[in-house]
Symmetry: C2
Subunit: 334 residues, 2 copies
């Protein structure tokens, strides 16, 4: 399906499910962006889950987002808005505020699955900002040394302006993502050692039982995930991990928090000069001796998007999306 | 040697080498702090190197540090001050500024080896700040896929206030630190696979030839290191990697850049409440099923410091330090 058609389809699905149009279009755009960049795990395969959250009341299709400004900081109370809606707003606000103050922080409280967070940092980077974004979610990754999930695969994204595309890192804090574990399960591919635990907390390479990713670099990855919870959820007064681990009623709902920081590059040196130095740095990296081609952060995704005229969804994803669309009375293009 | 005596000795050495007293005491304090916390690789074993840099003019014992404020940001031109001098100042300035603006950034240009950067984030955390610090250095770590060093083992530290001690992460972006590689070499300990390359760019487990750490999680670690260079060195208009990789005259000198961000917790919720939530989170983590005791970031170092009444330096470190002290006319305690 062409990206345009897929965007329209997904947006229509969300609207029929009760989302206001502007929000539906934003969410569709962010999900299709992930598919375009080859990150299917953060793409439209998430649509059914998002709709389910809407039905349960965890995701609010008509949120009243409130922002409170204080100094160079903004607290964005997302009112359970879809992650992409809250995060696009947060990135735009952070960039605008940083233009006044040099650096700005937007703390996002009570949103839902934030999707591929590189979208938001790249959005800021294209506006001349150096951007940092982190998001906190439920315990789905092993804490280093534990036999159970204790922290989330909390992602970190950093993007800076580049001459053509932003230089954009987007990494989870686990050795393997939940999405890749699921793919290995579907395809029956044995995992490398040190990737995951089974539900009982034992190390395994069996894709059928592997369910808990191990943290990147042991204490580094789980420490990073823990601090990401502190910097977003605890600062927002909206803990996720403790609620889930204690099994409170709140802890059984889906919600996320996030933090976005924008730094106005032009406050420190002319933006063009910065971009020239980024280009110089990339040139030096690419000239390093290597057996194959060396890529810089964000490059693989960007190339994937450049050459993708047609998004090929996995048959099961397409089937599920089609069935959902039909159930909501949305016409599906042939 | 007691920490007090070691601090005095090291401070005296730096003073005799030409450092102003206040700076000498600060550097001694930061180095001894690392030894106290069991991070000898960032401790007083570095003293001879620091003195060598002073002789070469790379480290300025009498720097004129200049700061330029703009919005919520401060550029600190360190004038080749010792890393600890510039970084303590940066952390203090960031915390003070964040008290006015909610979030503040201090960009540190042209300092030297920054030491154990957890010192600076913990300093801010004790003052009620959530702190982030990163530092950029020379290419000493493999870029993912390359057969040579292309980025540095750029460290990231995040610390937040806790009820007793700060929760404090301090991680490098490599799977193994340069210090640990050196220790393995000294002790002749075979490395695990996937840790390092030799000087020719071949993977090796031989401690005699292993010299280039591999990045944490492949593209994640080297991507993080690359973005850390952008956020600190390129923003400061003082590139390190490109100069070194191109072999320019400047690239043969030792210098570092850094970025410190402070976030005033009390701007978002009462500090006591935040600390209570950090404590609750730690309690939940420690209650996870595990085969052994689970530690939280910063805990191992803090415990080490608590129980260390006497710092036992490696014989070679003590010898080198003693010889250096004597050569400068500093009396060494028996």
């Amino acid at each position: 399906m062409t990206p345009e058609r897929l965007r329209a389809l997904v947006g229509d699905v969300f609207m029929r499910a009760g989302m206001v149009e502007a929000n539906a279009r934003t969410v569709a755009d962010v999900l299709v962006w992930a598919d375009l960049r080859g990150m299917g795990s953060h793409g439209v395969m998430r649509v059914p889950r998002y709709v389910e959250w809407m039905k349960r009341g965890d995701l609010n299709g008509q949120p009243l987002i409130k922002t409170t400004e204080s100094g160079a900081t903004i607290t964005l109370d997302a009112d359970r808005a879809a992650g992409p809606v809250a995060m696009v707003r947060a990135a735009e606000l952070a960039a605008a505020k940083a233009r006044e103050t040099g650096i700005a922080l937007v703390l996002v409280r009570s949103t839902t699955h934030t999707g591929a967070i590189g979208y938001y940092t790249q959005l800021g980077a294209r506006a001349g900002m150096a951007m940092i974004a982190i998001t906190a979610s439920v315990p789905n990754m092993a804490y280093h040394g534990a036999r159970a999930a204790g922290v989330s695969t909390a992602p970190l994204s950093i993007a800076v302006p580049g001459e053509d595309e932003p230089l954009a890192l987007d990494m989870g804090s686990g050795v393997i993502s939940i999405g890749k574990l699921a793919r290995a399960r579907r395809k029956g591919e044995t995992l490398a050692a040190g990737m995951a635990l089974d539900a009982q907390g034992n190390p395994t390479t069996d894709p059928k039982t592997a369910s808990i990713p191990l943290p990147l670099g042991g204490p580094k990855g789980s420490g990073l995930a823990l601090l990401i919870e502190c910097l977003s959820s605890l600062l927002a007064g909206n803990p996720i991990l403790a609620e889930a681990l204690e099994g409170t009623p709140k802890g059984r709902h889906h919600y996320q928090n996030a933090l976005v920081i924008a730094i106005d590059v032009a406050r420190f040196l002319p933006l063009a000069e910065f971009k020239t130095q980024v280009k110089r740095l990339i040139r030096n990296i690419k000239a390093l001796p290597a057996n194959g081609e060396l890529l810089v952060p964000g490059e693989r995704g960007h190339r994937h998007a450049q050459r993708t005229k047609d998004i090929k969804l996995a048959p099961s994803v397409l089937e599920e999306l089609t069935a959902l669309a039909k159930s909501l009375g949305v016409e599906v293009p042939a």
